[in-house]
């Protein structure tokens, strides 16, 4: 589904990703871990097409297409979803109004007719239970006055409604207490599907206690320096990142 080769990315002229390789197949869950400043969020943003992230070398192929050339909204319509680390507030814009606009933009891209109000509301009612989002938040302005946990739940709720093919969760666990973490993880788990891939970007392994990844990658200084299975995450928790770096340097 996603193949990244030798990816080099700069921000404001500074090289952040320095030859990253990653392959993700449909149905898989990958965890990208690494110390602060290793380039984790850069990877998430470059996949989503954020302005200011310049690909200077390498390729990103998504479902056989060159992702780098696609506008952000086209990527979204092609099924890429980013759960933001810091979801923004949009005053005066109703939460489900925006979601409906998104839904229907994606449907229009696929050549499908827009959902009418009733169909959409039924869908909302079904999905809102998945993440235990308070219904009163649906009709508030997007993320305005939401607590940190509510914002993250809202992201996963949007993901559940939009049903992406490739979901990228950028530090979704940060700022969540243990109950919220469990709920969010349950929501994500319920969205695991044989033709959907999920990339989890995280600093800590605790989210991986609840969302068990197929593969774990360690990102350090703009490259993936080690890949493994779930045990790798536990080792990282126990021993920190330093030993992986040394091992990679030795190799």
């Amino acid at each position: 589904m996603l193949e990244i080769k030798n990816l080099h990315v700069t921000i404001d002229g500074k090289m952040i990703l320095k030859g990253l390789d990653l392959k993700v197949n449909a149905g898989e869950v990958h965890a990208i871990m690494g110390p602060n400043g290793s380039g984790k969020s850069t990877l998430a943003n470059v996949l989503a097409g954020r302005d200011g992230y310049v690909v200077t070398d390498g390729t990103i192929t998504y479902q056989g297409k060159n992702l780098v050339e696609m506008a952000p909204e086209v990527r979204a319509c092609e099924g890429i979803f980013l759960a933001f680390q810091y979801p923004v507030e949009i005053p005066g814009v109703n939460n489900i109004y925006m979601l409906k606009a998104a839904m229907n933009a994606i449907r229009a891209y696929r050549g499908e007719p827009p959902l009418d109000a009733v169909e959409f509301l039924n869908l909302i009612k079904e999905k809102v239970k998945l993440v235990n989002l308070k219904e009163e938040l649906l009709n508030r302005s997007v993320n305005e006055g939401f607590s940190g946990g509510e914002k993250k739940r809202n992201e996963i709720f949007q993901m559940a409604v939009l049903e992406p093919k490739l979901a990228i969760l950028d530090e979704t666990d940060s700022g969540l207490d243990i109950d919220a973490l469990k709920t969010v993880a349950e929501g994500v788990n319920s969205l695991r599907h044989h033709d959907r891939a999920i990339i989890i970007v995280t600093h800590y392994q605790r989210l991986l206690n609840y969302i068990v990844p197929d593969q774990v990658h360690v990102l350090s200084d703009g490259k993936i320096i080690k890949s493994g299975h779930r045990e790798l995450a536990l080792q990282l928790e126990e021993k920190g990142y330093e030993w992986v770096k040394q091992e990679a340097a030795a190799a």
Partner: protein
């Protein structure tokens, strides 16, 4: 021409949508201003002697005044001798008795503007007094309004039919010598709307005026006077457009509102005068004096304005809160794109006890646009327990525009409570990216974010106008980001 402009419209959507010129025979006075011109205008309108004297007095005072310079706007000096002060469509010399007699080209123009002028529009519950250049062309629904006792007619007709009302209230809120442009208007105003709601009457429909400047090198100086007698209620809508022309055109109107005891006036404006092209050439100078007088106890005046047009907008719809417990409100969205400039806001003058005012101002700047909020909240010595809440928000799009806030607060009574909140935000790249990451195209995302920003004001507009305002906003800001 009409069809051409439609072709252009489909080609370049963001071009000014109302920029067509109607070719009709017009009776236009040669440019220039002197007492003879004023006498001529007064004579053409068959005015009584007192009104001519009122005009001349205003003119003589105007001659002693200087053009004010304090606003945060820049423009080349206006040559007042270059302007023609009177332009009437010729066919109205023998006034039309019904819509059938109105020049079909005029009606076509209104069709294009989407003005409801035909009987079918009765369903919409809107009565229209359309001012085309200087003379009111046709007023609908007079009969239905007359049954309710409501007078709604062109100003010049009111002068003939209801001189006692006009004489009593004209200039009682905005005196002829109030300011430079109000004095000019008082001297040369050609037409406008007059509205009187009798005691304890709820006006059975929304009243509406549509203004359009058509002839070139003419100024438009209309005068609106609305009197809501005790216990009455009226909602009044005003819309404006002008054709695209290279030169600047002056629009200096005066609007006076009077609310007596327990009366309510709601005045909504969607202003879409031609703003000039993307290089700042042409466009309307919109220098307008609007003031409401809450003369009676428990009276209520509410201004709602959506200002998307004009090269320069310079106006402060204000409320004089004289009656005890009276309420003044000002809800405004002002948009400047390209080289547009706006210096707008309000004055809330608290004179009576327990008076309350609310100011919600939303300024949006894009391109090289400059947007200033200027507002005065004045609590006089006797205005015990006055309250004001002011909220000014500015939204910037791009990095070449500007937003400025000039709040003035004068409180002379210790029991006053005055709150002021101001925010300036840049239309967030973060907000845009968030929407786009969800699949929403950039233009749609901008539209959504800007409408969200303006929501508190739009909800004050009558439904039909709210829809129009949203459309206007998206047309005005098309291409402003990216």
């Amino acid at each position: 021409m009409a069809t051409k402009s439609q072709d252009v419209e489909t080609l370049v959507k963001k071009e000014y949508a109302h920029g067509f010129v109607t070719e009709i025979d017009a009776d236009t006075v040669a440019p220039g201003l002197n007492e003879d011109v004023i006498r001529l205008i007064s004579h053409k309108k068959n005015e009584p002697e007192w009104l001519l004297e009122w005009r001349l007095k205003a003119y003589r005072h105007w001659l002693t005044m200087e053009e004010p310079k304090w606003a945060h706007v820049h423009y080349n000096p206006i040559d007042f001798q270059e302007i023609s002060y009177y332009s009437a469509p010729k066919s109205t010399n023998d006034a039309p008795k019904s819509l059938d007699e109105v020049d079909p080209k005029l009606l076509e123009t209104y069709e294009k503007l989407g003005i409801p002028l035909h009987e079918q529009k009765m369903l919409a519950g809107v009565a229209v007094d359309a001012v085309f250049d200087s003379v009111s062309v046709a007023t609908t629904f007079k009969k239905k309004l007359a049954e309710a006792g409501v007078i709604f007619c062109p100003f010049s007709e009111a002068v003939q039919e209801h001189p006692e009302l006009v004489k009593k209230y004209l200039g009682s809120v905005v005196p002829a010598a109030d300011n430079f442009y109000a004095a000019l208007n008082s001297a040369v105003f050609t037409d406008g709307s007059f509205c009187y709601i009798p005691k304890n009457t709820r006006c059975p429909m929304e009243l509406s005026t549509y203004f359009r400047i058509n002839a070139s090198k003419t100024g438009q100086f209309e005068r609106t006077l609305i009197v809501a007698d005790e216990g009455s209620h009226v909602s009044y809508l005003e819309g404006c457009t002008a054709p695209m022309r290279d030169e600047n055109q002056l629009h200096a109107a005066v609007v006076e509102l009077i609310a007596l005891d327990n009366a309510t006036i709601k005045y909504s404006t969607v202003q879409n005068w031609y703003p000039g092209d993307e290089n700042g050439k042409g466009g309307i100078y919109n220098f307008v004096t609007k003031r409401g007088d809450c003369r009676g106890v428990n009276s209520h005046i509410s201004w709602t304005q959506v200002e998307t047009g004009s090269a320069i907008t310079w106006k402060y719809p204000s409320c004089l809160l004289k009656g005890d417990n009276s309420v003044g409100e000002f809800y405004s969205v002002a948009v400047t794109n390209n080289y547009q400039q706006a210096d707008t806001g309000t004055k809330m003058i608290h004179l009576g006890k327990n008076t309350r005012s609310t100011i919600i101002s939303k300024g949006i700047s894009a391109g090289h646009g400059q947007n200033a909020y200027r507002g005065l909240v004045k609590i006089s010595k006797n205005a015990a327990n006055a309250r004001n809440y002011t909220q000014c928000d500015s939204l910037l799009m791009g990095d070449r525009c500007g937003a400025h806030t000039f709040p003035y607060i004068e409180a002379r009574n210790a029991s006053a409570q005055v709150e002021h909140e101001a925010t300036t935000s840049k239309i967030g790249d973060d907000q845009l990216f968030y929407c786009m990451q969800r699949g929403i195209a950039e233009e749609d995302a901008v539209h959504m974010i800007v409408n969200g920003f303006c929501k508190e004001v739009f909800k004050e507009l009558p439904m039909e106008f709210a829809v129009e305002a949203q459309k206007l906003l998206s047309v005005t800001l098309e291409g402003a980001v990216g």
